[in-house]
Amino acid sequence: MAWFSKTKKLKASQSANGKSSPQPAAKGEALWQKCDGCGEVAYVQDWERHWNVCPLCGHHDRLPVRRRLELVLDPDSFEELDAELVPQDPLGFVDAKKYKDRLKSTAKNTGMKDAFISGGGRIDGRPVSIGSFAFEFMGGSMGSVVGEKVARVFDRAYERRLPAIVFSSTGGARMQEGIFSLMQMAKTSAALNRFRSVKKPYVSVMLHPTTGGVAASFAWLGDVVIAEPKALIGFAGPRVIEQTLREKLPPGFQRSEFLLEHGMIDAIVKRPEMRQRLSQLLTLLA
């Protein structure tokens, strides 16, 4: 039995290749967890009770996608839809590993078929069409399945005249699906545009990290755009910018607080308050 559990942190820049898919933390094994923010050690139970927010310093660690839905939805209200969608390998893409094999092993490790979970649920009794990225699946990258599921979140919201909520946590488009991944940006934005006519709110919540083709499509098109504290959000990843400019980036660059300061997002909401704040928005807009 391990005394410490430290889920390995992924850098946003590593996400697109999916090489470093995290192993699911062996729950119930470790008793203590060390915080990436303050370096202090606290009970694992305390972390979990606080939705993976450090009970000592408030650092927001990654929250698995199922827990994310638990966090914001009424108990037992979530009905998963489109779970049957399975990714294909349209390019026959091979790098160090075949894309097909990478999909298979990631599916086995995560218990998911792709990087997005979606369906219907309720927040304080109000029905919503909702979806969330799973960063644990190939860095939350968007290929055809993710794009289709996001589009269907908007389709359902359109057909049933419901508010839509999407949580993003992604390195961007999935390069293993080439042009098909790029076109998911157009597809999701077109589906979102159709939904606008029902005059129901779309709330986009950006988590750490939200970059590339997802930031540059539906994630930044929310009627309201919210971010968790200190999330990395932007178009180009910091490594790309540093390589292009050949200089170090200023501290805090592309973090939620920086974007709020520049007028690029509407609010920063701490995880424990997320549910109540979403509910408030639904009251005000839906």
């Binding site: 390069m175 934005s189 499509s217 400019l245």
Partner: protein, 343 residues
């Protein structure tokens, strides 16, 4: 009456074309070399024959036949990487060349009304086949100085917001939009991020998906990622024969996959990014043929091919009602993606 800026553009594009045709041997891709060598030999012989000291007529004819055969051989079996190289050929016709050759009465619209002018995108109103349209294109530079001005064809948020203004104007005045794509990507800079690069692109994707006028994009060189798509959600997607369009550039792909940008050749193959690939995937509507040996060998012929293709698609789209245009475009993009539904 031609506006002052139209004159400027015209002369600039004429300069560009003469640079493309006259300075041709100055830049040669490896695989073009045997052909160029043969051609300079033919030119030499022609010069000698001109002097009437000897008649090389038969020899010249033979060599010309050989050159034609060699060109056909080289170009019949280009690798994807070779096509990427052609798409980036510095003598390749750029947007302003097409603007000068295919449009008249250009009135440039430069303002984004937010922050700055973005010279990586040239946009405005013009006549195409005598009919008023909105036209825009990403513009690379020919010289270092020109490239600084054009930012190597990499748009900032201002460029996307300028384009968005033109989409709105096109919708209001019911003008078709013709878009030329040629970019190594949206600019990855500190200021661009501060001013919302991702947001600027995102807004365009949605706005373009909702336009009720015909929209046609032509990839004339490089179509890199969101930087290209940010002006590319169109009713029709055309691609020049030796252009590429993808989610990521081969260099960026290989630096992520192999942490080594020099393996771009390998990535180009894996990404399947050519016009032929995209046609086979059903993403591209039409491949526009280039002049033999690539667009840079004959910009005028290539432009004429672009004109014919755009003309034909525009005529088709103009038959449709505004509602049908929106619906068709929505269905086109909504259907993109490959997946299965099953256990």
């Amino acid at each position: 009456m031609r506006s002052a800026s139209a004159k400027n553009v015209k002369s600039e594009s004429e300069r560009a074309i003469s640079a493309a045709t006259m300075a041709r041997p100055a830049y040669v891709i490896d695989f073009e070399r045997p052909l160029i060598a043969l051609e300079s030999k033919i030119a030499e012989l022609k010069q000698l024959s001109g002097g009437a000291a000897a008649d090389f007529g038969d020899e010249i004819l033979k060599l010309e036949k050989k050159a034609k055969k060699l060109q056909a051989e080289i170009f019949s079996d280009l690798s994807r990487w070779q096509i990427v190289q052609l798409a980036r050929h510095p003598n390749r016709p750029y947007f302003l060349d097409y603007l000068g050759l295919l449009f008249t009465d250009f009135f440039e619209i430069e303002g984004d009304r937010r922050f700055a002018a973005d010279h990586a995108l040239v946009s405005g109103f013009a006549l195409f086949d005598g009919e008023p349209v909105v036209v825009m294109g990403q513009q690379k530079g020919r010289s270092t100085k020109d490239n600084m001005y054009r930012n190597f064809g990499m748009m900032r948020p201002e460029g996307y917001r300028k384009a968005r203004r033109l989409f709105d104007l096109a919708e209001r005045f019911r003008r078709p939009v013709i878009i030329f794509i040629d970019t190594p990507g949206a600019y990855p800079g500190i200021g661009a991020e501060e001013r919302g690069q991702a947001e600027a692109i995102a807004v365009n994707l949605e706005v373009m998906s909702s336009l009720s006028v015909p929209t046609i994009s032509v990839v004339i060189g490089e179509g890199a990622s969101g930087g290209a798509l940010g002006i590319g959600v169109t009713s029709r997607i055309l691609m020049l024969q030796y252009s590429w369009y993808n989610v990521i550039s081969p260099e960026s792909c290989s630096s992520i996959l192999y942490r080594d940008a020099t393996k771009a050749q390998k990535s180009a193959e894996a990404l399947k990014l050519t016009a032929k690939d995209l046609k086979s995937f059903g993403i591209t509507d039409e491949i526009v043929p280039e002049a033999a040996g690539g667009a840079h060998r004959d910009p005028a012929e290539t432009a004429a091919n672009v004109q014919a293709a755009v003309r034909r698609h525009l005529a088709e789209l103009k038959q449709l009602s505004p509602e049908q245009i929106v619906k068709d475009r929505y269905l086109k993009y909504r259907a993109m993606g490959i997946f299965t539904a099953g256990e």
